[in-house]
Amino acid sequence: MEIIIDIEGSVPLFAQLIEQIKQAVLNDKIMANDPLPSIRQLANDLDLNNKTVAKAYRLLERDEVIQTKGYRGTFIHPNAKVNSSVDLNALVLTKLNKTIDTLRKEGVTDSEIRIAFSDVMNNRIS
């Protein structure tokens, strides 16, 4: 199973990696418990920074698409197929839209929402 990364594409490199690994799982090109290349191997093969691949692996691990088994390496999670179909981006968008609608109904302006959102994201207001 080969993955293709476009270094000049508009999608961030780590997101391209995540998407392609999830697609490979969904299309049965890689199965549960299949081993994955190490971060270093994949980064060198794609001529990317190790941190980019590490970030993609970290997020895939959080989503339970892959799992790291210590020195034995990284493997496809047993529930990867189910977990790959969960779109966290869609979930975030739905929840944010819902919250923004509620705030607008309360009379909060868009610029106030933006400032508040940015402050929360920057941990300035808890």
């Binding site: 199973m1 080969e2 993955i3 293709i4 990364i5 476009d6 270094i7 000049e8 594409g9 690994i21 490979a24 090109k29 890689i30 081993p35 994955l36 290349p37 190490s38 270093r40 191997q41 994949l42 060198n44 093969d45 794609l46 001529d47 990317l48 390496g73």
Partner: protein, 291 residues
């Protein structure tokens, strides 16, 4: 007298094997590639340097390699004529030095070719303008490229050679002792082998266009060459120590010559045997090659 004749036969075999047989095989391969996959149809194999014609440049490099080997071949026979003229007969007084010296001259064209290959691959990477990159979602593991048996044999042979050396030297380790130098050299050589294998297995792609299966085959060739060479070195050490131990040092030039021939067979031979040009995917080097 028979040992002198044996030496001449083995030395002629060294001349022919390293300066004629393998260079001819290499040149045949290069000719096959340039004739079957010319720069006009497969430009990615021949990255351009300035205004130079890549085909002309490659053919010139091939001619230089051929000339160097012809010279070494002639030099080998000149040495034999000189040896016959001067009544050369090994007495175990370091006469193997000239075999070593000659072998180094023989391997020099190959060394130069390796260097030019590195430069060539670097130019390929620099000329590569495609924005897409590919990778296989499969880990490369050492034992995918070599059988555990061959690797275990290399480890056993290495341990045996060091143990035999220690046994012959009554387990006396002193800093100025030959054994310490031999162990140190063996360690350096094997660290170099390990680095070479890791570099090829996990390092960046040397050839940016190479297909994944071809890269795997290339790594397999490197791993096999390294493991077989290690076995050859250990075998040579055991024989070399035995020669000193049993006071048959007059055989040193013969053994040294056999050693270099084995190195060529294990090294260059494995490289040529393992990589079949007909199985390589050359379509990736076409101008309009798919990703």
């Amino acid at each position: 007298m028979p040992d002198v004749i044996i030496f001449y036969i083995i030395f002629i075999s060294q001349i022919c094997l390293i300066s004629y047989y393998y260079p001819k095989k290499f040149l045949n391969r290069m000719s096959y590639v340039i004739n079957t996959y010319p720069p006009s149809k497969y430009p990615k194999i021949y990255p351009k340097v300035g205004n130079d014609d890549p085909e002309l440049k490659t053919r010139k490099a091939m001619q230089n390699y051929k000339n160097m080997n012809i010279l070494t071949f002639i030099l080998g026979f000149v040495l034999i004529i000189m040896a016959i003229y001067t009544d050369y007969s090994p007495k175990g007084e370091g006469e193997e030095t000239f075999v070593v010296f000659y072998a180094m001259i023989q391997f020099f064209p190959l060394f130069l070719m390796e260097l030019s290959e590195f430069k060539h691959l670097k130019r390929m990477r620099q000329a590569n303008l495609k924005t897409t990159r590919t990778a296989v979602l499969k880990p490369r593991r050492f034992f995918n490229f070599i059988s555990p048996f061959a690797f275990s044999l290399a480890v056993i042979m290495l341990t045996a050679s060091i143990s035999y050396d220690l046994y012959v030297n009554e387990f006396i380790l002193e800093w100025n002792n030959d054994i310490v130098i031999r162990i140190f050299t063996l360690t350096i050589v094997h660290v170099y082998f390990a680095v070479l294998v890791i570099w090829h297995m996990y390092g960046r792609k040397k050839d940016p266009h190479q297909a994944s299966k071809d890269r795997d085959n290339y790594v397999k060739t490197i791993v096999r060459t390294v493991v077989y060479t290690s076995i050859g070195i250990s075998l040579f050490l055991i024989v070399d120590i035995a020669v000193d131990e049993y006071n048959v040092s007059y055989l040193d030039p013969v053994i040294m010559s056999v050693y270099f021939q084995l190195l060529a067979v294990f090294g260059i031979g494995t490289l040529l045997r393992s990589s079949d040009l007909k199985t390589i995917d050359f379509d990736v080097y076409k101008e309009d090659a798919p990703i």
